[in-house]
């Protein structure tokens, strides 16, 4: 809470000041999604391997249980492979959305920068 003896600055005022300070200190969003290409590639590999492992694992266990060696293992490995491809594709779509968002943000930022520069230039010319 603000001290009662002093009139606190209005929230709008603080917000405007914060935004100004942020613009000065942090180009763009301060809490940008951290991402690296290596991490993305690794994610895809793990996604594929996990689905294969689950498919193979279930197949192996069912084979042991139902005594159908090796047929269910083969079938479920293939299904696991398909599931892996599906997961990888979903992940790739997610990454694409992320990249597009980053590019859009960068473009927006460049534009606002340009506008700011122009404004400053105009002010200088007038002054």
């Amino acid at each position: 809470m603000a001290p009662p003896d002093k009139e606190p600055p209005s929230l709008e005022d603080i917000d405007a000041r914060l935004r100004r300070a942020r613009e000065k200190e942090l180009p763009g969003d301060g809490l940008k999604t951290p991402s690296s290409n290596l991490g993305r590639a690794f994610t895809l590999a793990v996604e594929m391997a996990a689905a294969l492992a689950v498919g193979g694992g279930i197949g192996w266990y069912l084979d042991k249980w139902l005594d159908t060696k090796p047929w269910l293992l083969v079938v479920l490995l293939i299904i696991g492979f398909a599931a892996g491809v599906k997961n990888v594709m979903r992940q790739v779509n997610r990454i694409n959305v992320e990249i597009e968002k980053q590019e859009r943000d960068a473009a927006e930022q460049a534009q606002s920068e340009r506008q700011k520069n122009e404004r400053q230039k105009n002010e200088r010319d007038q002054g």
């Binding site: 603000a2 809490l31 951290p34 991402s35 996990a50 689905a51 492992a53 689950v54 299904i79 892996g84």
Partner: protein
């Protein structure tokens, strides 16, 4: 600066280890020794519940997070100071993450859980980078337990909200009925694969990073004078590891958010 000194100690540590090993004649420091569990207090509850270096690091993590939050929010100011700013930044980050994915009332309800999870993993990953510290996230038991709890919780959440409609999640819409016997098992396996990919991603990243750091530490000790070459690389690698530590905690948390969203909204 802090980074440089940390790397310095890490390098010194490796050096002394090598010297010690030489002195003791044959005491080896294997590549994976840093992941060994040391039991401090043996507790047997029918299963092994010993207090180990891993448990100690978890306790330290919880204590540090509590301190971070308590100190940061000790003097609640309208205009935050440095500590309060840090706490608020983490809060805002998780809140935004949840708002973007889950949204609405679900985001509010899931916040405490996702926030604790994110902070625990973030602090655990970062504390593990301190020389001599143990990284509990480099053990798949730990990460898999987290992933399993999330998996079971999210599945129950979906079942409670949607009852039997939840199973329509495994039947993609707009697909001819004769393809269902093929597609449903694929969907189920891809669903079950979630906790595995979630846990393996975090565990493999942390373990690989720490092993690479160890390898380069050995290079520095082994190359004597020319050790400054891998030393330079190690400084960069340490920076990368700090990024990976934050990134993996973030990825774990955001995937949890996505799973919660899937359970609430189905697709």
């Amino acid at each position: 600066m802090a980074l440089a000194s940390e790397v310095g100690t890490a390098v010194e540590a490796t050096g002394t280890h090598a010297a010690e090993a030489a002195a003791h004649g044959g005491e080896k420091h294997g590549l994976l020794d840093q992941f060994k569990i040391d039991r401090f207090v043996d507790i047997d509850l029918g299963f092994d519940a010993s207090f180990s270096n891993s448990s100690a690091m978890m306790v330290a993590t919880v204590v540090l997070i509590s301190l971070f939050m308590i100190v940061g929010l000790g003097r609640r100011r309208l205009i935050p100071g440095r500590m309060q700013g840090m706490v608020e930044a983490t809060y805002e980050m998780v809140a935004r993450m949840l708002g973007d994915t889950v949204g609405g009332k679900g985001a509010k309800r899931a916040f405490p859980m996702v926030f604790s999870l994110f902070m625990f993993l973030l602090f655990g990953n970062l504390l593990g980078l301190i020389p001599y510290a143990f990284t509990f996230t480099s053990h798949i038991v730990v990460t898999f337990m987290f992933a399993a709890v999330i998996f079971i919780g999210v599945t129950l959440l979906g079942l409670i909200i949607h009852r039997h409609h939840f199973f329509s999640y495994f039947a993609p819409s707009g697909v001819p009925i004769f393809l269902m016997p093929v597609l449903v098992p694929i969907e189920i396996i891809s669903y079950i694969a979630r906790p595995i990919s979630l846990s393996v991603r975090l565990f493999a990243n942390m373990m690989a990073g720490h092993t690479i750091l160890h390898v380069f530490g050995t290079f520095i000790a082994g190359l004597a004078f020319f050790g400054f070459l891998p030393f330079g690389f190690m400084v960069a690698l340490y920076g990368l590891e700090i990024l990976v530590a934050c990134l993996q905690a973030y990825v774990f948390a955001i995937l949890t958010c996505l799973y919660i969203r899937d359970a609430i909204h189905l697709h």
